[in-house]
C-alpha cells in the first residue's frame, strides 16, 4: 500500500469528497455524543439546528455572527494568500473597536450624527491599518518574524482595551465601560428594515464581493498571488515586493478595523477586552478551510457560527456543558481538514499504482 499525489481532480469530485467527510464526521460525532451523554444524537443535531435557525431572531443573529466572522476572515485572506502569516487579526479588530469606541465616547455628544459616523469609520480603519502596518514595516524592512510579531500585537491591543476600560469605567472601580451612549444612541448604527443586524450584514456582503473581485481579477490580486508563490519570482518580474507587503497588510488592517467598527457601533455598543472574542483566530481557520476563496468563506464562516450557536442551544436544551459541542466541532473540523488529504492524494493498495 502506498500513497500517490493525484493529478488535478475535477472540482465536483473534490466537493463530493468534502461532502462525504462532513456526513462521516456527523456520524462519528453522533456516536461520540451517544456514548458520552446517552442522548439521542439526532435530537442533539435537531436542537443545534433550532439553536441557530429556530426563529427569525435566531436567523438574524446567526446571519450577523456569520457576517462578522466573515468580515475578519476576508481581512486575513489577502495576507495569507501572500504567505504573510498575519495572526494578528484579533489585535487589529481590537484596534478598530478601540478607535470606534473612543470616538463614540469622546465625541458622541459633540458632533452631528453624520460627522460622528465619518469619524468613527476613519478612526476604526486608521487604527486597524496602524496595528497591521507596524509588523508589516518590520517584516518588509528587516525581515522580522511576522507570526510572533502580529501575535504579540494582539496582547498589546487587548491590554490597551483593558487600560481604557478603567479610564472610561462606569461605575467607579468596576473596570467596565457598559453600553456607550445608552440613552442617546449616539454613534449606533441605525436599524434598517426594523433590524439592527441588516446594516452589518450589508457592509460585509459588499466587502465580500469586492474582495472576491480584487483577489481574482485585479492587478493587485495577481501580485499578491505571485508574491505568495515566490518572492524571488515577484522580484524577477519587477514587482516591488516591499510595497505589495505593506499595501496588502494595510488592506488587512483596514478590513479588521471595519470589523471592529461593526462590533462596537453595530452590535455591542461597548468596548471590553473580549470585544473581538477570539474571532481573529477563528477567522484564520475560516479562511483556510475556504481555500482563500471569499465566496466559499460565506459557507465556512456559517458552519463555524452554526456550530457555536448550536452548542449554546444544546447546553440549554439538555443541560449539558457546551464543551461537548466543542468536541463535536473539533471532530467535524478534523474531518473537513483531513479530507483534503484524499482530495490531493490517493491511497493505492497492492501494486496497481506502480503500473501508472
Amino acid at each position: 500500500m502506498h500513497i500517490i499525489k493525484r493529478a488535478a481532480m475535477p472540482s465536483w469530485k473534490a466537493w463530493l469528497i468534502r461532502l462525504a467527510a462532513i456526513l462521516l464526521s456527523l456520524i462519528v460525532s453522533g456516536l461520540f455524543v451517544m456514548f458520552v451523554t446517552k442522548l439521542n444524537p439526532i435530537s442533539v443535531y435537531i436542537e443545534m439546528w433550532k439553536g441557530a435557525f429556530g426563529s427569525s431572531r435566531k436567523i438574524w443573529n446567526t446571519a450577523q455572527g456569520t457576517a462578522i466572522l466573515l468580515c475578519i476572515s476576508l481581512a486575513v485572506t489577502p495576507a495569507f494568500k501572500m504567505r504573510f502569516w498575519n495572526i494578528g487579526a484579533e489585535g487589529q479588530v481590537m484596534a478598530g473597536c478601540i478607535g470606534t469606541a473612543a470616538v463614540m465616547i469622546l465625541f458622541g455628544n459633540k458632533l452631528p450624527t453624520f460627522w460622528l459616523m465619518v469619524c468613527m469609520v476613519a478612526a476604526s480603519v486608521a487604527s486597524g491599518i496602524i496595528w497591521a502596518l507596524i509588523p508589516a514595516i518590520f517584516k518588509a524592512n528587516w525581515n522580522t518574524n511576522e507570526t510572533l510579531f502580529t501575535l504579540m500585537m494582539n496582547y498589546v491591543a487587548i491590554q490597551i482595551a483593558s487600560y481604557l476600560s478603567t479610564v472610561w469605567e462606569n461605575p467607579a472601580g468596576s473596570a467596565h465601560i457598559g453600553v456607550i451612549n445608552m440613552n442617546t444612541g449616539k454613534g449606533w448604527f441605525p436599524a434598517i428594515f426594523g433590524h439592527e443586524q441588516t446594516i452589518n450584514i450589508l457592509i460585509v456582503a459588499v466587502l465580500t464581493a469586492v474582495m472576491f473581485v480584487y483577489l481574482k481579477y485585479s492587478k493587485h490580486g495577481y501580485e499578491i498571488a505571485v508574491v505568495g508563490e515566490s518572492e524571488n519570482t515577484a522580484r524577477y518580474v519587477g514587482m516591488n515586493v516591499k510595497k505589495v507587503i505593506l499595501r496588502t497588510m494595510a488592506l488587512s488592517g483596514a478590513i479588521c478595523g471595519i470589523a471592529g467598527l461593526i462590533i462596537v457601533a453595530g452590535k455591542d455598543h461597548s468596548l471590553s477586552t473580549t470585544s473581538a472574542g477570539g474571532q481573529g483566530f477563528t477567522a484564520i481557520m475560516v479562511s483556510w478551510l475556504a481555500k482563500f476563496n471569499p465566496l466559499m468563506m460565506i459557507l465556512t464562516s456559517l458552519l463555524i457560527v452554526f456550530l457555536e450557536r448550536g452548542a449554546g442551544a444544546i447546553a440549554t436544551s439538555f443541560r449539558i456543558n457546551d464543551s461537548i459541542a466543542d468536541i463535536v466541532t473539533g471532530i467535524i473540523l478534523f474531518f473537513i481538514i483531513g479530507c483534503e488529504f484524499f482530495v490531493n492524494y490517493k491511497i493505492v493498495f497492492g501494486n496497481k499504482g506502480a503500473k501508472q
Binding site: A172, G173, A175, H176, D268, A315, N321, D322
Partner: protein, 431 residues
C-alpha cells in the same frame, strides 16, 4: 424551503402571541418598581404566600423562567447561581421545560439577544448573574415591559425607574465578617501554638478589581478577623479579572511569599485555594466550599445563596405582587450562608460563629461599626456614598447612620457602596 420557513415563522409568532397572553393574564395589576424608599416590609411581602393572595394568580406551572449566566459551572461564581436555579426549580416543582438556562453568555450584545430569545420562548422572568449584563438587560427590559428582568449585582435599577427591571444582592458583607471571624480564630490558634507571633498575623487577600463590591468584601472580612485577633493586618492584591486561575494562583503565591499566614480571596477560580493547599497555608474561601481543592487548608467559605431570591421572585410574579427595585438578601432570608467548616478551622469556631451571627442578626453588632476602624487615621463620622452612579462619581447619599456604615441597604441600593480604604489594610501602590 422558503415557504416552510414562512410557516415556521408564522407558527413561532403565534406561539409568542399565545405566550404573551398567558403571561399578561397573570399580571392584571402591573408590578411596579417600588420607589427607592420602599420599606423592608415591601421586600418581604412576596414571600408571604399565605392568605393575602392578590386577585390575579398565575399557576406556577404556567410560568417560564430564563437564566443567563456569564460562564458555566466551571466558574465557582456561576456554579453558585446555577445550583440555586436547580434548587429553586426543585423547590417549586417546575419542569425542565419551564426553566431555561443559558450559560456562557458574554457581557455584550449576546446578553441582549439571549434575553430576547428567552422572551421569544415565552419566559415571564429572566435572571442574569453578571455585573456586565446589566445594560443589555435594561435594553431588553425596555423592549419587553411584560417580562420581569432581574439582575444580580447591578446598580442601576433604582435610577432607571423601569417597572420590570430589578437589582438584587445580599448582605454578604455580614457573611464575610463571619468568615473573617473564623480566620481570626485560626490566627489566634496559630499565635497560641507559637507558630507565629501576634505581630506576624498577616492576612493575604486576592481581589478581582478595586471595585466597591470587592472593597466592601475584603474590608468586612478584615474587620471580622481583627474583631477576634486585634493584631491582624492584611495585604491585598488585585488580579484585574473576575476569573483567571493562573493570575489568582500567582497572586496568592506572591502573598504567601510576602509572609501572609492566611489567605482569602474574592475572585472566581480555584487558583488561590490551590496555591494555599500546595503551600500549606490556611484559606478562607468564597462562593462555596473549596474543601475538594484544599482538603488540609480550607477553613470556611461564605457565599450568597440565590435560591431564596429566585423562589421569592418566581412566587411574586405568580402572585402578581410587587418586586422592589432593589432587594438585599440577609441571614434571615437564607441568602447569606457559610459553608461547612473545613479541617483547618480552629477549635470552637462553630460556636463562636453562631454567637456572632446572632449578634449581627439582632443588630447589637454592626460589621462597619465606625468605632472599629479609621480611614486615614481619622474616625468616619459621615460619608456620602456614590449610590446613584453618575459620570462624576460624586457621593450622593449619607450612609453613616447611628454610628455605623449602612452597607447594601435596599432603600439605597443592593449592590455594595463601601469603597473606603481603611487603616490596617495594605493596598498595592496606587496606580
Amino acid at each position: 424551503m422558503k415557504k416552510s420557513l414562512k410557516i415556521i415563522c408564522a407558527l413561532m409568532s403565534l406561539c409568542m402571541v399565545i405566550g404573551l397572553f398567558a403571561a399578561c393574564s397573570g399580571k392584571e395589576d402591573p408590578t411596579t418598581t417600588a420607589a427607592p424608599d420602599a420599606s423592608v416590609a415591601d421586600t418581604e411581602a412576596p414571600a408571604a404566600d399565605e392568605s393575602a393572595a392578590p386577585a390575579a394568580q398565575t399557576d406556577l406551572s404556567e410560568l417560564k423562567i430564563g437564566f443567563i449566566f456569564l460562564h458555566d459551572e466551571n466558574s465557582t461564581y456561576d456554579k453558585n447561581f446555577m445550583d440555586a436555579a436547580y434548587e429553586a426549580q426543585a423547590a417549586l416543582g417546575l419542569s425542565d421545560e419551564q426553566v431555561l438556562l443559558k450559560p456562557n453568555i458574554p457581557e455584550g450584545d449576546e446578553c441582549y439577544q439571549a434575553a430576547c430569545e428567552l422572551v421569544d420562548e415565552g419566559c415571564d422572568i429572566i435572571f442574569a448573574d453578571s455585573f456586565g449584563h446589566e445594560d443589555y438587560m435594561i435594553r431588553a427590559a425596555k423592549e419587553f415591559p411584560e417580562v420581569q428582568f432581574c439582575h444580580a449585582t447591578g446598580t442601576k435599577a433604582h435610577t432607571e425607574n423601569l417597572a420590570n427591571f430589578h437589582n438584587a444582592l445580599a448582605s454578604i458583607y455580614e457573611g464575610r465578617f463571619l468568615a473573617g471571624v473564623a480566620a481570626g480564630l485560626k490566627l489566634n490558634e496559630m499565635i497560641e501554638a507559637g507558630d507565629i507571633t501576634a505581630e506576624q498575623a498577616k492576612i493575604g487577600y486576592v481581589g478581582a478589581y478595586p471595585y466597591a463590591e470587592v472593597k466592601s468584601g475584603y474590608t468586612s472580612f478584615f474587620l471580622g478577623a481583627r474583631y477576634i485577633c486585634p493584631s491582624a493586618t492584611m495585604e491585598v492584591k488585585f488580579t484585574n479579572s473576575w476569573y483567571d486561575e493562573a493570575l489568582e494562583k500567582e497572586a496568592a503565591n506572591a502573598l504567601i511569599q510576602a509572609d501572609c499566614v492566611l489567605i482569602s480571596q474574592h475572585a472566581d477560580s480555584l487558583g488561590a485555594p490551590t496555591a494555599c493547599e500546595e503551600a500549606g497555608v490556611p484559606n478562607v474561601s468564597y462562593n462555596g466550599s473549596t474543601a475538594a481543592a484544599g482538603p488540609n487548608t480550607y477553613i470556611v467559605s461564605s457565599r450568597i445563596n440565590w435560591e431564596p431570591y429566585y423562589e421569592l421572585i418566581i412566587n411574586a410574579v405568580a402572585n402578581g405582587s410587587v418586586i422592589p427595585a432593589d432587594w438585599t438578601g440577609t441571614f434571615e432570608t437564607g441568602s447569606v450562608e457559610l459553608a461547612e467548616l473545613g479541617a483547618a478551622a480552629a477549635e470552637g469556631t462553630a460556636e463562636k460563629l453562631a454567637e456572632i451571627e446572632d449578634q449581627l442578626k439582632a443588630g447589637t453588632l454592626h460589621v462597619f461599626d465606625t468605632s472599629t476602624f479609621t480611614v486615614g487615621g481619622e474616625a468616619l463620622d459621615e460619608y456620602l456614598a456614590d449610590v446613584d452612579s453618575d459620570e462624576a462619581y460624586q457621593g450622593d447619599t449619607q450612609v453613616v447612620i447611628d454610628g455605623y456604615f449602612d452597607e447594601s441597604n435596599p432603600t439605597f441600593r443592593s449592590a455594595p457602596y463601601f469603597d473606603l480604604d481603611i487603616d490596617g489594610i495594605t493596598l498595592p501602590v496606587a496606580e
